[in-house]
Symmetry: C3
Subunit: 110 residues, 3 copies
């Protein structure tokens, strides 16, 4: 797995998206969280096709922090099976990647 | 290749984007399709730089289903060379990944 | 690394985003650049959590061109540490991938 990842999450509305973004950055589970856009999702759920308006979130973190980040998102997320997955960063400017690493390092003593 | 992918497609307008999203989900070529946002594209085409407003779509499926999904998109797509590519999911919550697998499985007897 | 990548960049506003998009396409450092959406970023910077409105850009290029593309973006970018990273294209329709390759090839004699 790549060392750095972008995590893609959807939330039911902007409020929940903001709450998740603030919480995961405050806990240093992500160096940044971006509220990308209101989206419209078309998806299968319990044998039926549903359509819903949601908010898309992108978060930057290390692959190492993914499990902890996913657990924190789940606690704040109202869905039974929220969308939480990671795509790999296969290249990046060195200072940007170093910034992700530094900002997601656990606080001393934490 | 990763087992699960997010497929990024652009469509000329929201109507075409919606038609593609509905069709590929109905055929279980993707577990979900998201109409992300209206975007502005700047691109080379036949020796000239063009600018166009488009709609961005993200679809969740298995790597195994990519070729079938791409073929279905092409049939509905008015462009000669549409943007259709996949980025890999290198991590994800197990129930979310399992949901993609289940919802993209061909219907029994299909 | 994959042969083709999507580069994700954020800019402080739409003007800067457009300037970067036009420049990198004109120089064939990317086959296409997309102004995706205005986003809200929550991030760590110098020991404090900041929030800012930004513009998200996606660019399509070859892995080989990434360093040159990143250098060109930095010259046009007002941030000290701009977000510049690449996610890999692990699948794509052959004509689309071939289009990226062709449009990012240096001009003859350049």
């Amino acid at each position: 797995m790549a060392e750095f990842v972008e995590v893609h999450v959807t939330a039911p509305d902007r409020d929940v998206a903001e709450r998740i973004a603030s919480a995961v950055v405050a806990e240093r589970l992500a160096a940044a969280a971006q509220l990308v856009a209101p989206i419209t999702s078309v998806y299968w759920w319990r044998g039926e096709i549903n359509q819903a308006d949601e908010w898309l979130l992108f978060m930057k973190t290390t692959a190492e922090r993914f499990d902890e980040l996913a657990a924190a998102i789940r606690e704040l997320h109202p869905y039974e099976v929220p969308q939480i997955f990671a795509v790999p960063l296969v290249a990046g400017t060195p200072d940007y990647l170093e910034w992700i690493r530094r900002e997601t390092a656990p606080e001393p003593g934490a």
